[in-house]
Symmetry: C2
Subunit: 142 residues, 2 copies
DNA sequence: ATCAAAGCCGATGAAACTACTCGGGATTGG
DNA sequence: CCAATCCCGAGTAGTTTCATCGGCTTTGAT
């Protein structure tokens, strides 16, 4: 249950772009230096995010990357699903065929409940929340 | 964000042992046939669980495995942590040194919140709950 | 028009991890 | 004794991760 480096890099890059809104396009080099991410690897990662429509690019001299939407319209959940694949803990949650035991499998229920919980948390946090430092720890009661 | 096969196998095996409480020791072969898990691989997995004190073994003829504690004293969280490693989404949650940005890193807060949520869910479900089929989906309100 | 800055892209590669298999040794009940 | 069974370390094929490399394309500035 660990996040991949790719995913962490990608989220750091998106946070960097969120901080840079209004400052024009940011180059791979600049982002990689600020976020301490290998330049060529970041290029790959940000390419994925571009193809998914979360960042826009400008080619040529003075080019770079910018967020394609406002920071409050990009959630950590979106980034996770793009960079880590869908948040599903076992195949049988989505694809019932993948589970031979199908309906009578009790762990299926566990995974479903866990998946719900994870999605709820990550979809509730946007880049804007991170900028605002508005992320509260989980409330114990209520 | 996907569970390993090892972990699923391990949990299926533990569920099997929970169902078999009172029926004497269960052999690797019997468990593997019921749970559709490769025999030799299961042997490896259940060895880990034995060394962690969750199952007891009896060697020799008529030997096999039994739960070392009552099903309501074994949570999915324990199994996850043993079979998947600690549920921590980024190293910096446990080991602050691992994060160069340390305190001023906003994604750190996100990962902490996510880790809390995951642990809360998986630690709240025991093998007994699975036996009783008592696992409810996450409550939307309240 | 030229040129350097920058993004774009496919191939490659090392290292780690996963999901096993294999072979043999150690115990124990009958 | 011997067959059943657990115990254990080694090996292995395949996949994934985390990159690196080289070259191509686009574009702004001069």
């Amino acid at each position: 249950m660990k996040l991949s480096t790719r995913c962490r890099y990608g989220i750091h890059a998106m946070y960097d772009l969120a901080q840079s809104v209004g400052n024009g396009p940011q180059t791979i080099r600049a982002i990689s230096e600020r976020q301490l991410v290998p330049e060529q690897y970041l290029e790959q990662i940000i390419g994925v995010l571009r193809r998914e429509g979360l960042v826009n690019s400008m080619r040529g001299a003075q080019g770079g990357y910018m967020l394609a939407r406002a920071p409050n319209e990009i959630s950590i959940g979106q980034l996770l699903r793009i960079l880590e694949g869908p948040v599903l803990v076992a195949d049988c949650i989505e694809d019932a065929e993948a589970c031979i035991r199908s309906s009578q499998c009790p762990s299926r229920i566990v995974w479903g409940r866990l998946t719900d919980c994870i999605n709820k948390v990550v979809d509730s946090i946007t880049l804007q929340d991170m900028l605002d430092d508005q992320i509260q720890p989980v409330d114990e009661k209520g």
